[in-house]
Symmetry: C2
Subunit: 470 residues, 2 copies
């Protein structure tokens, strides 16, 4: 009997595959307000692991966490012209409190530069107060015309950093530190998602920024996903919110600010970068269960062995899950753990156990080996390390295969149907970006020839990566 | 020269003292929308420590974290009659999204029983799905007429648990487990705040609950603070949202639900339960810095010793902070760390160091000792343990002193001016609670004579604790 696929195959209909896997792996559902989402326990557990790692990295840069109100007076957001223009079509507006109409409508934060600006201006007085490095974990509200779970939802979770610096150079260096050692390293080392690090073009910049730097990933349908951004805001917000400091020399100086954020959208990236037709393939670093100890049949001491192995794995610091629900068929359980992308499966059954062995399966490669019970904990730990490494390598090879070097706009448009097209920035010409946009292709980022992030668009020999994107 | 007090003394004006300490210890500020707050890094760091401990306890009961949208359709909240009546005057209402008027106004969640109810009904099908134990860390919005930082703000942070059970007994036991082993134990062991555990009267119950159980603490001005509540919701929400399960016997049964929450209000409790005229006194378990290594003067190797001690404390797992800002006067720095309530201060100066010693001060008791440099890490660890224990003992003794056993309503009203009045529930009579309410005194909780939580108000020999409260 041929197996009925649990999910729509990726090659048949990738968006449908995505919807299927998000629903069937019990990651998320649509919430009651249009375009919102309910994050279910399995996906929320991944988010908690991601948060913990990111929070550690953010704090290592010297930033401290705070919490600001979600309701921002409309007048605050209106103060920075580019900012309000960029966000006004996405506002959720609060008009009533306690049954009375508010004197001024409040906007549910679409981002918090303005309210941070108002307070950072109070907290920064002297050069001794700088840099001021703040971060917030919060919910964000943006009206969306075409919502999709994790990728674009009217409410999502994120962290937003907001920092104040004495000099442009200090702000620029900090924004780059966030891009590289917080975001890109996290994405590659933890999410096993390789990212291009680059600069956004003026058309793609954050509303109110002088420079937006980005981490861009390639999904398995050939579309790019913006995974996180770090912005140099210049003195735009400092000027509007009057963020000044008394210098060592006794003069009043205008500050330089940055902001940077990553969101629950990364969960969508995790699904679409690694998933296959059988379901998720989770990198062990963010897998709620790194290994499932699957009891095949509770006979001939298999149950005891499974429980002992589970306990030993927990004791070794591995996130182990015991599945001893032998009243449900083995096949059904195996398919479900595959769907959920658990990196390693340890199958404990009487037949293999008779020879002193258990089965070890890696979800990422499909590789199955037989390992002695005594060496199982060590073997699982090694498989976890290998899976983390191999998922990144596989994704990088895939990304590189889908990256085509081209010389003309026409070739770029063709290549971008199925991945990144890499072309000289000069080949874009004055209206190339707009022409690509007509085919739903955007410039994802601009890099130097050596892959590093340029300081401006006027450097020589820059390359642009263009693609369709989420 | 007499010292100018940094704070208004508690005895002069307690509310003013509270305002002073919240501002000067840099805990929080008023946010832009009326009654909202900005939680600054020092207080947020305390909240993170509290969250981590609570989250561990909540997960130990088997609950899993999720995230639901903050915007709840008005029609959802309206479905449970007592619930909408209890909350409607506190609504913040969202009427527009993306510039268009919404077909149905959305309420910013004042609590999430209704939206959890809608989804839990889908997720619970069979007895195998029960109990369903969910928890959410989120921001909450309630219009407040008399806001006060941490204690009553229009937006605050909390966790809200929502669970579904097959039987009333299972729901009742779980609600009690949360009350005792999550909330009360956390408050006593971590916050060092002793709490009365009891049952709310019908008048004080959560809107929509059959039974509300509470943890009540005594502040240093003689007013009570409700620190957290755990509710048995009976079948009220299950009926409205149709939360049913197929029993083992094949029948459709209505479920039983609970909800429970604690909020950033506990930060206010921490300030008011332990603080004194010099500032905060933080229990080490939630102190962002458990010890500050204070360099008196950077002479004769004192700087090196201070840095070495700081490193050794960090290595020993102590949250240590080094203060080597010798360009600021020692006195000013010492007063500031006192204000911030750092539990232990290690003073490293050339004079004591000449004899091989450093000074060890405990913030809770004011006790100062001289300890040899070699034994300093051990001495700090011991001081941290002692401070945690002694703060609880001190607070309990204070609470007990402020608890007066009385027999009549009149004596209760008098005693409640300055603490808890404990009287037989029967002495309240049919209108006693309403009469006390006229003097701004409320029944904080009802207990059995042995201090345990009664199952109902009709048990014999129950006692009521009444007080003024926040």
């Amino acid at each position: 009997m041929p197996k009925q696929p649990v999910l729509t195959p990726q090659a048949d209909d990738f968006p449908r595959w995505y919807q299927d896997v998000v629903a069937k792996a019990e990651l998320a559902e649509n919430g009651p307000p249009r375009g919102s989402m309910v994050i279910r326990p399995y996906a929320y557990a991944m988010w908690e692991l991601m948060q913990a790692d990111l929070d550690r990295r953010i704090k290592a840069t010297g930033a401290q966490n705070v919490y600001f109100p979600a309701l921002i007076p409309q007048s605050y957001i209106a103060r920075e012209a580019a900012h309000v223009e960029g966000f006004s079509h996405e506002f959720w507006t609060v008009t009533h409190g306690g049954g009375e109409e508010l004197a001024e409508p409040m906007i549910l934060r679409p981002t918090s530069e303005t309210v941070f600006g108002e307070y950072m201006a109070k907290w920064v007085q002297s050069y001794r107060d700088l840099p001021l490095l703040l971060n917030q974990w919060a919910n964000i509200f943006r009206w969306e015309l075409r919502p999709r779970l994790f990728l674009r939802t009217t409410e999502f979770l994120w962290q937003e950093g907001h920092t104040v610096h004495a000099t442009q150079d200090d702000a620029a260096q900090y924004a780059r530190r966030i891009l590289h050692s917080v975001y890109a390293d996290f994405m590659e080392e933890v999410l096993a998602i390789p990212v291009l690090r680059g600069r956004k073009t003026a058309a793609e910049r954050f509303a109110g920024a002088d420079n937006t730097m980005t981490c861009e990933a390639m999904m398995r349908d050939g579309k790019a996903l913006q995974m996180g951004t770090s912005h140099e805001l210049g003195q735009n917000f400092a000027r509007v919110f009057d963020i000044k400091y008394l210098s060592d020399a006794g003069t009043q100086e205008l500050c330089w600010t940055t902001s940077w954020g990553v969101t629950t959208r990364m969960l969508g990236g995790l699904v679409m970068c690694h998933g296959d037709d059988a379901g998720l393939r989770l990198p062990p670093a963010v897998a709620p269960h790194q290994v499932v100890v699957l009891l095949v049949k509770d006979e001939d001491g298999a149950g005891d062995t499974a429980r002992k192995l589970h306990d030993a794995l927990l004791a070794a610091g591995v996130r182990s899950r015991l599945d001893d629900r032998v009243d449900t068929s083995f096949g059904r359980r195996a398919v479900d753990w595959e769907l959920k992308g658990v990196p390693v499966r340890l199958e404990v059954g009487p037949r293999e156990l008779a020879e002193g062995n258990v089965g070890l399966l890696r979800r990422d490669s499909g590789e199955k080996t037989s390992v002695p019970v005594d060496g199982a904990v060590t073997a699982v730990a090694a498989a976890i390390d290998a899976a983390q490494r191999d998922l990144l390598d596989t994704a990088r090879a895939w990304r590189d295969e889908r990256t085509t070097e081209v010389a003309t706009l026409e070739d770029a448009a063709e290549a971008a149907k199925d991945g990144f097209a890499k072309l000289p920035l000069s080949a874009l010409g004055p209206d190339g970006e707009a022409r690509l946009n007509e085919s739903a292709i955007t410039v994802r980022c601009v890099q130097r020839a050596d892959g590093t992030v340029p300081d401006g668009e006027d450097e020589p020999d820059l390359v642009a990566f263009v693609a369709r994107s989420y």
